[in-house]
Symmetry: C2
Subunit: 166 residues, 2 copies
DNA sequence: CTAAAATAGTCGGGCGTCCAACTAATTGCC
DNA sequence: GGCAATTAGTTGGACGCCCGACTATTTTAG
């Protein structure tokens, strides 16, 4: 496997160093891939627990968020802001939830650009039942004790805030 | 917001407890959502750094993995196994990489079920250049010092292994 | 008071991930 | 040896996420 002589390093060696743990070096890429893998694990568990209710974790979050609101409804933009997802992702989620009869769109008469989303009776039922299901699963996160969970959370919080994520 | 009397708890209160930090309680869901957010942040940074090379981090990982192999090629099944993704994700990634001329499929004459993927010259060039790019970005992970990175990694490793992820 | 800028939401398209189902080929077992 | 079980890869479809572009409305500035 010949190395391009123009390059200031051996690409193979360099790439290998991303994942291999060179003594005394920090290995950000190793951590990055680990985070991605853990995320995949957790999301898969959550989605599996929610499958009987025919919703995903993404949609579950939307349901919970709406039910939180004082008035029982939320403008779509607020949802996107709180969940930190793109506006189009909110449109997509609300589309599906509405098609399932769990959520209803309601225009804002005060500001006609805005649209509220509110739970239907069925939406509230599904939210309650799926919350119960989520509480009872044996969670990957539970592999850590409460103290380590807290420690991990604090480390990730530091990471996020230094990345400008509030 | 009336609560369904059939339910053994107030769904709204219960759901709220997922995210709010009740004193002295472990909050696995809070950690779960934090992990998902961090993953999103990191992946977005990596993909942005790779955009000039017209590849994503998912495809970058495939390139690196193939270049690692002793023979310079890898059966698709091995790629999926190492990256811990579904076989269809590998097919998808290799399809795109092949369409870009970065990878070539080669049938295995010994076992005709299998297909090897190997880098083209262009694939090697892109791998080298994009690796260089990834090395030079200011990474969200760098918000933690080397010691905290290691600590986080160890915590996540414990989490993964207890979830049966090897 | 009007024109420019900002905000809210949607549509179309690209990408990655998974699942179910299917074909082809190889292994294993009786 | 021959048929069942396993393995490798693909196809089609569902979902979530983002981006760019676009419409409609409201704010803001001159």
């Amino acid at each position: 496997m010949p190395t391009d002589p123009k390059l200031p390093f051996d690409p193979i060696e360099r790439a290998a160093s991303i994942w291999s743990n060179r003594i005394g070096e920090s290995t950000p890429m190793k951590l990055a891939t680990s985070i991605m893998r853990v995320q995949q694990l957790i999301l898969s568990e959550l989605d599996a627990a929610l499958r009987p209710y025919e919703i995903t974790f993404a949609r579950y979050e939307v349901l919970v968020l709406i039910s939180f609101s004082a008035e029982g409804s939320l403008p779509l933009s607020k949802i996107g802001e709180r969940l930190m997802v793109h506006p189009t992702s909110v449109t997509n989620a609300i589309d599906r939830l509405e098609a399932q009869g769990l959520v209803k769109r309601r225009p804002d008469v005060a500001d006609r650009r805005r649209t509220f989303a509110e739970l239907t009776a069925k939406g509230k039922d599904v939210m309650a039942a799926s919350t119960k299901a989520l509480m009872s699963i044996d969670f990957a996160i539970d592999g850590l004790d409460a103290k380590d969970q807290e420690k991990t959370y604090e480390l990730l919080k530091a990471l996020r805030s230094s990345a400008g994520d509030f």
